[in-house]
């Protein structure tokens, strides 16, 4: 049985862990968000990164969520973990969205409506970034259980 003191220290450590993870994810999302927007302006071109301003902005929103979370957690406020939860949720939403779109594109190709199907283009950053974010999910779940939020 852990003492209350031990429990408090443990949770502080965990918070730091989430803060770092969140900051890293936030930075990566921000980077890709900027890249996607820049691709539209023609300043950047790389096949795996689609030129999609709207989607880029969405990535920036996810980035902002993670970064805000990191900031609050570093300030020591447990509530900051909410941002991480929402960040992962948003990441999952967009990841799932683009997986479904990839499937739809594949169907279109099979139906003969699309000219080509580029696997590289379909596996957008949103998808594998979501997988990266999802790595945090089991830790988040455990942390939330400890906080008795779920």
């Amino acid at each position: 049985m852990k003492t209350l003191q031990e429990r408090r220290e443990e949770s502080k450590l965990e918070l730091k862990g989430f803060a770092v993870g969140s900051a890293v994810l936030g930075a990566v999302y921000a980077a890709f968000g900027v890249l996607e927007v820049m691709s539209v302006a023609g300043a950047f071109s790389f096949e795996p990164v689609p030129a999609d301003a709207a989607s880029g902005l969405c990535l920036l929103v996810v980035a902002a969520t993670f970064l805000l979370g990191a900031k609050e957690l570093l300030e020591g406020r447990t509530l900051g973990i909410s941002f991480v939860v929402v960040g992962v949720a948003l990441a999952a939403v967009f990841g799932l969205l683009y997986i479904l779109i990839a499937v739809a594109h594949a169907l279109m190709f099979v139906l003969g409506e699309a000219e080509e199907l580029s696997l590289l283009a379909e596996l957008r950053p949103e998808i594998w970034l979501a997988l990266a974010a999802a790595a945090m999910a089991p830790y988040l779940r455990r942390a939330l259980k400890e906080l008795r939020a779920i």
């Binding site: 969405c58 929103v61 909410s82 939403v93 139906l111 939020a149």
Partner: protein, 436 residues
């Protein structure tokens, strides 16, 4: 027994309430009192709902998250429905071809009127279905009241009333129940403004127009183009509400403060989501079976008779050419004019009309045909025009019913026409400056 009844009536009169109701009520009070004295909160504890609200209602992040989620919803509805639309379109194409090469009115009615018109618009059940599916998930999760709260907060800061975004949000499905939902707004002025502004919230009937044009012109950005229509609608709704409050005398005054109840977040169940989606999708199918079907027949008749005459000389053509001068500055041709004209009955008819007119004219690929008659800029302007220009017949009726006045109903039509024209003109002007 008589005496007992007398005692009862006396007591009831003295306390001013039906005893059948009063006694149970007193019991509840006692139960409440007892439970209050026996319950103790263990510790102040974070609930998942509070945690999520910390983010979703955040002063800075709340609205961007809302917009991002909405974008995901529309991107989903558009992209994932594409393959299904293609398949259904092919099916209708095959059905139409059953009429063979015959040039008789009956064959044309089947191929161009029914398959080409009604069939063409039925294809759009898929984006509508997927849109409703996504919205149902958001609704069941408990997120939508947060979106409403965040938007209301913004509107409140702009000097508008709170508590009106939820009825507006309902307008994404259909403006009719959304306008009826304004009954929850106490202040008559607030309510009137919300009703006037409601038709600017893009309803599902306008989605086929967006999908058709965005798909034809904007390629990979189709989802974003459609999304922009919804955002445009929201922005105009907020702006017009602001404008009305500041200028129209009857509507001046301080906005009422709002208290919104936020239900806890829940995991959406598959059954409930599918049920909601089905219920709303069925409305479209019912519309198709009735007003869209009738509209298809009427339109086909107008565009086929006098028989044998080139399309421009039929009744529909004559109507279109009569209206065309009004819309030429916006880059719309006579066919677009006819489509918009009949769109008053139901906005889906706009797409149906294109299907019939181009079909009668002998076009196979409707989308390509429409594309040939417009430029990307005019297409975008057309989408905006469809968004704004009129409430449909049903909405017209409900505005009249809920406001109880012809004055406001006609005002709604008038301002929307004017606004539609102004916005479309601005888009065209801007477009020609930037792209020539």
């Amino acid at each position: 027994m008589e005496e007992i009844r007398r005692i009862r009536e006396e007591l009831s009169k003295k306390l001013g309430e039906d005893l059948e109701v009063l006694l149970p009520a007193r019991r509840y009070e006692i139960a409440g009192e007892i439970s209050r004295r026996c319950l103790r909160r263990r510790e102040e504890r974070l609930t998942l709902t509070d945690m999520l609200d910390h983010v979703f209602l955040h002063r800075a992040l709340g609205i961007p998250i809302f917009l991002a989620l909405m974008y995901a919803v529309f991107q989903f509805a558009y992209s994932v429905s594409e393959p299904f639309m293609v398949m259904l379109e092919a099916a209708f194409g095959w059905l139409a071809s059953l009429a063979g090469e015959a040039e008789t009115p009956l064959a044309s009615l089947w191929a161009d009127g029914i398959c080409g018109g009604l069939g063409f618009v039925l294809v759009f059940i898929f984006p509508i279905f997927f849109l409703f599916l996504a919205l149902a998930i958001l609704e069941d999760s408990g997120y939508l009241p947060r979106a409403a709260f965040v938007m209301d907060r913004l509107m409140y800061r702009l000097g508008l009333h709170g508590r009106s975004f939820i009825p507006l949000l309902l307008g994404f499905g259909c403006n009719l129940p959304a306008i009826m939902a304004t009954r929850v707004i106490d202040d008559e002025r607030d309510r009137l403004i919300t009703i006037l502004v409601n038709p600017l919230m893009s309803c599902s009937a306008r989605l086929p127009v967006y999908v058709l044009l965005a798909g034809a012109f904007f390629g990979a950005y189709a989802g974003a183009a459609i999304f922009s229509m919804y955002v445009l609608g929201i922005a105009l709704a907020v702006l017009m509400a602001l404008l009305f409050r500041k200028t129209i005398p009857q509507l001046r005054g301080k906005p009422a403060p709002f208290i919104l109840e936020l239900p806890p977040y829940l995991r959406p169940t598959l059954r409930s989501v599918l049920l909601k989606t089905w219920q709303r999708g069925v409305v479209f199918l019912k519309k198709a079976a009735t007003i869209l079907f009738a509209g298809a027949l009427a339109l086909w008749a107008l565009s086929s008779f006098p028989w044998g005459v080139p399309l421009e000389a039929t009744y529909a053509g004559m109507l279109g050419h009569a209206l065309e001068p009004l819309l030429r500055p916006l880059g719309f041709d006579w066919m677009a004019a006819v489509a918009l004209f009949f769109g008053f009955l139901a906005k889906e008819i706009v797409v149906e009309t294109f299907g019939i007119l181009y079909g009668v004219a002998g076009e196979e690929e409707i989308q390509a045909a429409v594309a040939a008659h417009m430029t990307p800029v005019t297409a975008f302007a057309f989408m905006a025009f469809t968004l704004i220009y009129l409430p449909c017949l049903a909405t017209f009726g409900i505005i009249r019913a809920e406001t109880g006045s012809w004055k406001w109903t006609l005002f709604a039509v008038a301002y929307e026409l004017a606004l539609a024209y102004a916005v479309a003109a601005t888009i065209v002007a801007f477009g020609s400056i930037v792209w020539g």
